[in-house]
Symmetry: C2
Subunit: 312 residues, 2 copies
């Protein structure tokens, strides 16, 4: 078996109207995990790169480590002889707390690598719960990042108890631009600005748009998808946590993007475009808008990821 | 041209989770309108059958009459010579205030008949606004009944200003049972029990289910559609307005129905089943449950209507 290297992609949770239920995977960026069997039982994290020293190397406190432990347990590898332990190395390629599902990608890459290391006995769908539990350790129990990172495409979390997800499909001709401002926004803080009650009118707008978004996916209609990226509930309440958000959004739409909102809990902002040229103009415009607001930002243009995490 | 006879079907608005945005058409029951050209300008209602004398014969106060007037106006028939006026006869086949889009069906049948009478110059989609305006006179501006009655199948109202609807498709293999208890529930009263604010948690449940319902429609998955007939927001608040509602719902599900909720503003209750035999058992069980609660009820088993209103 030697060493297994796995990739798990960044994800855009919520996708505008679908707070807590929608998420889709990008082709890039993403995290890498290398896993190898060792004789010492359990999971050990050998190294972490790209986190600026911020992540714990204790396997029980790191989403990659927790996911690896849970998958080992599912494989029944806790109490067996031989090389039943795992040593993992994590290589992060996206900032923490950026709204791109960074902690989820690490969990997914680790889960996929460990599963592969022991003969790929578990299906992707079976790994969702373990990865969601790993996420729980850092950002509450949620699956709108780990499910699309595992399965690829656009995913609906249709139930949390029990956890049940459905892969809707992939918007094949769309291009997504993501601008990630250079500051961290914790999911906890981003959740703290959300009220327990919301106006019925706003809720109706969002359930119309989640429905429209699924229709857009099934009809491969990028324009309609852009129209559905319209969040009356969460975006207005989180906008103030992202310096210059409305300027960034305006600049993306003026550059030709069809819809724009916050990626996950933010502060990353994403938009959707019908072609690559527009997506590249849009992301430049978004970066400039952030810059005018005193914030530097990273930029990515990516299609939707069809297959999800991959063993390399 | 002579006389035109048109049919418009009953509709199930909301469909569970999609309050104010979803509606679908049934094959039966439905209203009929006969329209003929007359030399007197404007619209006159010659007769109304099946309403127990409850509906106004003043064309300006009756949804069929208002829709006919608006369509005449769109056709530019207000000020021309010759037989530019219309006389309509309305035949109602469903109770008023029953939650089956009764007033909307009358408006749609009239609009379609008048359009046909003058050469069918307007497309179905162009009639939606006129019919929604006619509905406004009796039940507030809404399109979740008239749009499916006009277009057939399952419709999403994606915007109210401007009014914009999209036909999603038709769940071809599903059977719908509807039990209509023998009392009237006004839309106004049914709306009065809804709060202006709702818990975020309930809203999230509904936007997950509207998304799931659209996915079910696109994949022709009746079971998933039934799962999505799950309304955390409106149903619990309106249940007490419908005597025996929870007994009726329980009996439908126990008979094998896959999902059950209130049709439109109620008091009709609908459920969805995978085959006709189950749908018929379910509707009998629903009627018995109503009966045990001291309410008699009418029953219909119908497939989803593919084409909407029809000229006969």
């Amino acid at each position: 078996m030697g060493t297994i290297r796995a990739f798990a992609p960044a994800t855009v949770a919520n996708a505008g109207p679908g707070f807590d239920v929608f998420g889709f995977a990008l082709e890039k960026p993403g995290d890498f995990v290398e896993a190898k069997r060792v004789s010492e039982k359990g999971v050990r994290i050998a190294s972490i790169k790209g986190d600026n020293g911020k992540l714990p190397k204790d396997a029980g406190k790191n989403t990659a480590g927790i996911a690896a432990q849970l998958v080992l347990g599912m494989l029944g590898k806790n109490a067996k002889d031989g090389e039943s332990g795992v040593e993992i190395s994590l290589e992060k390629n996206m900032p923490l707390g950026s709204g791109l599902g960074s902690s989820g990608a690490s969990a997914v890459a680790a889960a996929v690598a460990v599963n592969e290391l022991f003969g790929n006995k578990l299906k992707r769908g079976e790994l969702v719960l373990a990865c969601a539990k790993a996420e729980e350790a850092v950002a509450g129990f949620h699956a709108d990042n780990v499910a699309p990172a595992l399965l690829g495409g656009f995913v609906l979390v249709k139930s949390y108890s029990p956890l049940s997800v459905v892969k809707i499909g992939c918007l094949e001709n769309a291009f997504f631009s993501v601008a990630t401002p250079d500051f961290e926004l914790s999911t906890k803080k981003a959740r703290s600005v959300l009220p327990k009650e919301i106006p019925m009118k706003e809720a109706i707008s969002n359930w119309g748009n989640t429905a429209l978004m699924i229709h857009a996916l099934h009809t491969q209609n990028v324009k309609l998808f852009g129209e559905a990226v319209n969040d009356a509930v969460v975006e207005p309440r989180r906008a103030s946590l992202i310096q210059g958000f409305y300027d960034v959004k305006k600049s993306a739409l003026e550059a030709g993007a069809l819809g724009c909102s916050i990626s996950g809990a933010g502060p990353s902002v994403f938009c959707v475009s019908e072609n690559k040229a527009v997506a590249e103009s849009a992301v430049k415009a978004m970066q400039e808008a952030f810059s005018k607001n005193g914030v530097e930002s990273g930029a990515v243009v990516s299609k939707m990821n069809v297959k999800g995490a991959a063993v390399l």
